[in-house]
């Protein structure tokens, strides 16, 4: 490492070159690994232009992605906002893969490159590698090669079956992406080579074992005994593993009308959905972690005299933009900013460990005053998702700082009621409610496959478990049901059952829907 004789600075001007990038990276790495104790995948930093950034954006941030018009739509939309100046480009993009890929934009100044390196290449990287959700549910080393396989596979399908046929399947599969994840049981790890091999074997097996004779078997006569019918139903459900929460999985495995290649496409969409599922559950933590890491590292670099005041000011300006939280009645209010909340909570944890108040000692007896804020944070990053993190670590001090309040909103009333505010009585309620609002499992509609009589009319019965009386938005519900029917091939119905009373709240079926 060469350092200027006169000064200790890593870089002087805002221009960057590969030498300064490397020098800065090394300085950041030293702090991240030695002082913060981070544990990261090997880094790969890629320099891209702003157009390429837009490209990357619109393919859900993946360097490789199959083609679909919805990504084009996203591009046109982002591009439109960007050109109108309504939205800036992200400074960075980072991919949960091994090696971890971070994009640096060509247009960034050197100070920004340093910030992005600390933020993405160490903050996000550490989080991806160590958080239990990512460890259990995603396979960082295989995702890129899997996506490569997916992309090629879909191109092959388009060549063989036509773009529109593939598009129809993808459209329907995308509609069910939210219902295409295993929430509770871990899916098997993927390996792209094995994957391809298995697919080939699956197809071969199906071809070999296909016998037209099976079709001609006489139908089993249903017994008149109602208990027997009931037993049949329960056996049937057992055989199909019902109820099933993962609609895409169920359709892929059970649908009678899908061709093997269509099943494979469903599988690809499901795998992608599953891959992104942990990210959706850890937005606050992930961004908070990265923001906390870059903030800490940049301050440390400044303390060491390695970056100038000018660069530090530039960094702080970006930083404050990122963690800006407008109040609820501000026209700019877009909801709670995960960067702001996550960063504030992590700083708060540091404060509690180092300099606790009496209140903190009451609320967090295990960590208050322990001084071990690094270990506490590393532990939190590894073992929590947003919901549990907030439930565990949101302190009264922070609730006051954000002036959080809880609003209940009942559809029948023409007013919202303030249930709790930031006072002694409200802390618990606010914390619990906020934590719950980050629980995807609780907030996403719970829709499950309940029953289907494969030997009868093959009517697919879905059940929506309605919580707190929140129904589904009707237009998109009906449109989505049509997609389900498209994949299933026979009529589909959806029943809304109230979770508490067990009453049937609504029923709808594709038979009633017009196209």
């Amino acid at each position: 490492m060469t350092k200027g004789a006169a000064s200790n600075l890593l870089f002087q001007s805002s221009d960057w070159n590969f030498e300064t990038l490397a020098r800065t990276y090394d300085a950041i790495e030293t702090i991240a690994l030695d002082e913060l104790g981070l544990d990261v995948y090997p880094n790969q930093l890629e320099i891209i232009s702003s157009e390429q950034m837009l490209d990357a954006y619109s393919s859900v941030g993946m360097p490789l992605m199959y083609q679909h018009w919805s990504f084009g739509k996203r591009f046109v939309f982002e591009d439109h906002l960007y050109r109108k100046g309504r939205r800036g480009l992200a400074y960075e993009l980072v991919i949960n893969s091994n090696p971890c890929i971070t994009y640096l934009m060509e247009e960034n100044t050197m100070a920004m490159q340093a910030l992005v390196t600390a933020h993405a290449a160490f903050g996000h990287n550490h989080f991806f590698k160590n958080n239990y959700l990512f460890q259990q549910w995603t396979d960082a080393s295989a995702i890129l090669s899997y996506l490569e396989f997916a992309k090629k596979y879909i191109i092959k399908c388009e060549e063989r079956y036509g773009t529109s046929a593939v598009e129809e399947i993808l459209d329907s599969a995308h509609a069910l992406m939210d219902q295409g994840v295993f929430r509770y049981r871990r899916p098997p790890r993927l390996s792209s080579e094995k994957e391809r091999e298995r697919m080939r074997e699956r197809l071969e097996y199906e071809e070999q074992t296909y016998s037209d004779l099976w079709r001609t078997l006489p139908p089993t006569t249903a017994g008149a005994d109602p208990s027997e019918v009931e037993r049949d139903v329960s056996e049937r459900k057992k055989a199909l593993n019902l109820p099933e929460e993962n609609l895409l999985y169920f359709l892929e495995k059970t649908s009678l009308i899908l061709e093997p290649w269509q099943r494979e496409i469903l599988r690809i969409v499901r795998v992608v959905a599953q891959y992104f599922y942990p990210q959706r559950q850890t937005k606050v933590m992930n961004e908070g972690c990265a923001t906390f890491v870059h903030y800490t590292i940049m301050n440390r670099l400044f303390d060491q005299g390695k970056i100038s005041e000018g660069a530090m000011l530039e960094m702080l300006q970006s930083h404050t933009n990122v963690v800006f939280q407008p109040a609820f009645d501000d026209p700019r209010f877009p909801g709670l900013n995960p960067y702001a909340l996550g960063f504030a909570m992590m700083q708060d944890i540091e404060r509690i460990c180092v300099d606790p108040t009496a209140e903190d000692r009451d609320w967090f007896p295990e960590i208050a005053g322990s001084g071990k804020w690094r270990d506490t944070l590393l532990d939190a990053w590894a073992n929590h998702r947003d919901e549990s993190f907030i439930l565990q670590y949101l302190s009264p001090a922070l609730i006051r700082k954000f002036r959080l309040f809880l609003l209940t909103d009942e559809a029948d009333e023409n007013y919202c009621e303030v249930a709790s505010i930031h006072n002694e009585r409200g802390y618990e309620a606010i914390r619990a409610a906020l934590a719950r609002s980050y629980d995807i499992g609780a907030n996403q509609p719970d829709i499950q496959v309940m029953d289907v009589d494969l030997l009868g009319d093959r009517h697919l019965r879905l059940q929506h478990n309605v919580k707190n009386g929140v129904f589904l938005e009707e237009n998109s519900r009906d449109a989505t049901l049509r997609h389900v029917r498209h994949l299933w091939g026979y009529e589909v119905s959806l029943v809304g059952i109230d979770m508490e009373s067990g009453d049937t709240l609504y029923e709808c079926s594709t038979e009633e829907l017009s196209d």
């Binding site: 609003l407 409610a433 929140v470 009707e474």
Partner: protein, 438 residues
């Protein structure tokens, strides 16, 4: 030391394919939007730039989403200043205010618009009419010609000889070929005459005369060989026929609005008129459109009334033709205006009136019109029955007689939007005789 990779030179536009797919899809929607506009907008508006909002249907991606207007929800919001527990905040009109602000997850897409150029609008418009190629559209309309000087030619009739140009050619040729000038010859002859007059008889003298005579003879021979004006010098004025700019046209839209003309029929008629208008607009600087509708009496109306009024009644077609004749005599003298007429009807007429229509056309209108198109809108089920035969309504049969006699009269039947363009080609693709006006 991490792995730095410079990707800036990698190809951009990785998402180009995706964007094309998206635009292709959006196009379907735009087409629908344009169709709606044509239905509800004015004829003259079709041919203009249009802003079309990003249509949601077909390019939105549905999924199971909670309905934010049902059930009980709880929001945690920052920035409380004055509220205490138990306070009630009135909800604003649905979708606004605190109620929706709490959601914070619903990403709304600002509506963004496509601005379609004239060509794009037309493309989308014609696509629906199964128009294969706009260029092929070629209305062969009659044109008046004026002769205009267009340079010179080496051939032509004697009356058109351009003397100046011919003489200039001749002069140049004479200089180039050294044709002896008259002056020169005369001077020589004078000198010979003078020498002969002296007649001193010396040998030297005689020899001199002899030499001069030979020179003179040579000159004269040369003058004979090189003519003063050669056929190759002659130039004629050349004339070229130039079409007269006929700057204005009037288009008569005649429509039967009796009860039998339902929305489908009017929509078809409108599309036909729109096409005709677009067509004429390419040719003329100025087009007037006259809308005449008729039941058992006819009247000139504005476009809106023409297409959307619900007036109804019996049917006497000839009233419309009489009204058209009246408007022409009043406002559109045939020597100044190119008159086009298109009549849309379902062919039903009061008995005996169809013959009157035919005779009106025979005697009056066809002389005034550049072109008269009759479109009969029939039921789709009738297409097979009537598609090819001459049989049909009384109006159809009566018009057949006009059709036989006047080349600038065309008639056809349509039953669905896709019929319009082929029929239009049939009506206007033919070449009517060059000079229609007599």
């Amino acid at each position: 030391m991490p792995n730095f990779i410079d990707r800036r030179l990698n190809p951009k536009d990785k998402s180009l394919g995706n964007r094309q797919r998206f635009l292709k899809r959006a196009r379907e929607e735009l087409k629908r939007a344009i169709k709606e506009r044509v239905k509800s907008g004015k004829i003259t508006d079709v041919d203009a730039e249009q802003n079309v909002s990003m249509p949601a249907r077909g390019v939105n991606e549905p999924s199971f989403q909670p309905d934010n207007n049902t059930g009980e929800r709880r929001h945690v919001l920052p920035g409380n200043r004055e509220f205490a527990a138990g306070d009630r905040i009135p909800k604003k009109a649905s979708g606004g205010g605190a109620a929706s602000a709490g959601a914070g997850t619903g990403q709304s897409e600002d509506d963004f618009q496509f601005v379609l150029s004239r060509e794009e609008v037309l493309d989308l418009f014609f696509e629906d009419l199964e128009l294969p190629d706009m260029v092929k559209l070629n209305l062969k309309e009659s044109v008046a010609f004026k002769r205009r000087r267009a340079g010179f030619s080496a051939s032509g009739s004697p009356t058109n000889i351009n003397v100046g140009r011919t003489m200039r050619n001749s002069y140049g040729r004479r200089i180039a070929l050294h044709r002896p000038a008259r002056r020169e010859v005369e001077a020589l002859a004078d000198e010979i005459a003078k020498l002969e007059a002296e007649a001193n008889g010396t040998a030297k003298h005689r020899k001199r005369i002899e030499e001069l005579r030979q020179t003179l003879e040579k000159l004269e021979r040369r003058r004979r060989r090189i003519p003063y004006v050669d056929p190759v010098d002659i130039r004629f004025n050349r004339f070229e026929p130039q079409p007269l700019p006929n700057a204005s046209a009037v288009m008569f839209c005649l429509m039967d609005v009796s009860a039998s003309m339902g929305e489908r029929e009017k929509d078809l008629a409108k599309r036909f008129f729109v096409l005709l208008h677009l067509f004429l607009k390419r040719r003329y600087e100025r087009i007037d459109i006259v809308f005449i509708r008729h039941t058992d009496e006819a009247g000139e109306v504005d476009e809106n009334t023409f297409f959307y009024s619900k007036q109804s009644g019996g049917t006497v077609v000839s009233t419309a033709l009489e009204e058209m004749l009246r408007v022409i005599q009043e406002r559109y003298p045939a020597h100044e205006w190119n008159i086009y007429a298109a009549q849309a009807s379902d062919g039903e007429n009061i008995s005996g009136d169809s013959e009157r229509c035919a005779s009106l056309l025979h005697d009056e209108l066809m002389r005034l019109c550049q072109y008269y198109a009759y479109v009969e809108i029939i039921d789709e089920r009738e297409t097979e029955i009537f598609g090819t035969t001459d049989n049909g309504t009384s109006l159809w049969r009566a018009y057949r007689t006009v059709d036989g006699e006047w080349p600038n009269f065309q008639m056809t039947r349509i039953a669905k939007p896709a019929d319009i363009y082929p029929v239009f080609r049939k009506l206007f693709g033919k070449q009517p005789s060059v000079q229609l006006r007599k």
